[in-house]
Symmetry: C2
Subunit: 242 residues, 2 copies
């Protein structure tokens, strides 16, 4: 009996997922766009009441966010750039993507234009929605964060970062687009490098910022569809650094 | 001596104005765009500590914002729609523009695409920047408001309203665009009718919303340049209502 109940639940989940794909495709009607359903992750780094485990991990010497760099002794090694967790991992820039995929189970998507469909927007802050995006020969990290910068007033922050150096990042432009109900909001900027701190990008407000009311206007049944496009802002971007 | 000092001050003001025009033109490089320098007006309606004069005016029977309509006995008459002041005037929709120009000294500009250059963005909330915009045979009211929706955290809200009926407003799309320093933010929507309450549009957040940090990123020397474009969203818009 329990087996049948679980099977029925799994089928329902699949129908729900299919329905969400359909909705996102309806919002962004351009042909050939990949829709990616992104489920939220409760951010452990910004929990207002720190858990015993988090407290213990700090005591064991894991550094708080944005102070990773102080612990890097080999200048060729970079710390884990996952914005979700305080992670003691460090490695070369080339293996950051495989670390994020394997250890933090962050999905990676291909395509110049994709739709990021964040579900369960109503969940309380702090919450993160995160994917990697492979495009134009590089990998990008897309983060949507719900955070209470001012207590009691959660806001949504969306940004894209290149898993590469700041010089490489300067060669790209990313665009985030919300489009629903005769309203359109577009944010275009140069991605930051993953070597910069994602937390400071958000605290500086140098990203797409949405009030809860605006997020609700663009949401459909608790999900927010963000159209993403990446273009090169310079010709021969890869040669520029050589 | 005082005369020369005043003359010198006036010349300096002219140079400053010319410099601001130049800056806005540099930001929005499209040829033929009209740049309008808009100075702030301290909003009397939303002053946190109400002045004795404002208190007295309420006692004399002038209604608070958004409750104008209750006082209109003739359904063909509309109340004053100026968002700056609680004004007891009422008249036909056709004479709202001349009332706003003559009584509230709001400038009117011609052209499908203009640049609204709001000065002195640092001034404390509540502050309004307002102009009228004549385009495609209709007049629009553009409002930029600095307001503390949450105490101690001022935000900027920008919206465009048609001086006409809601049915007429549905025939248009307006676009507000910020563009500076390799960043671009675009908001597109259907304008609301001036018969709806501008205060509720802002409190609903159904407009372009900027945090102070984002406003600073797009500002140049304390001035914010907003590119404005209006297009018709339907063919034969004027006939649709006949």
């Amino acid at each position: 009996m329990l087996f049948f109940t679980q099977c029925f639940g799994a089928v329902l989940d699949l129908i729900h997922l299919r329905f969400q794909h359909y909705k996102a495709k309806r919002v962004f009607s351009a042909a050939g766009q990949l829709v990616c359903v992104v489920n939220p992750t409760h951010s452990l780094k910004y929990a207002p009441t720190r858990s015993a485990a988090a407290q213990a991990s700090t005591e064991q010497g894991i550094l708080p966010p944005c102070h990773h760099h102080e612990a890097v002794h080999d200048p060729q090694l970079v710390p884990c750039t996952c914005p979700l967790f305080s992670c003691p991992w460090e490695g070369h820039l080339e293996v950051v993507v495989s670390h994020l995929r394997q250890t933090h189970r962050i999905n990676i998507l291909q395509g110049a234009e994709i739709v990021f469909l964040a579900t369960d927007m109503h969940l309380p802050a702090p919450t993160d929605w995160i994917i990697m995006h492979s495009c134009l020969g590089h990998q990008f990290l897309l983060l949507l964060r719900k955070q209470e910068k001012y207590e009691g007033h959660p806001q949504f922050f969306a940004t894209m970062m290149l898993i590469g150096t700041p010089t490489q990042a300067n060669n790209f432009t990313y665009r985030l687009e919300l489009n629903r109900n005769q309203r359109r909001l577009k944010w275009e900027a140069t991605p930051r490098s993953i070597l910069e701190c994602v937390d400071s990008v958000i605290s500086d407000g140098d990203c797409l910022v949405l009030n809860t009311s605006l997020a609700q206007l663009f949401s459909d049944n608790g999900s927010l569809a963000i159209g993403i496009a990446i273009t090169t802002s310079k010709v021969h971007s890869s040669e520029a650094e050589i």
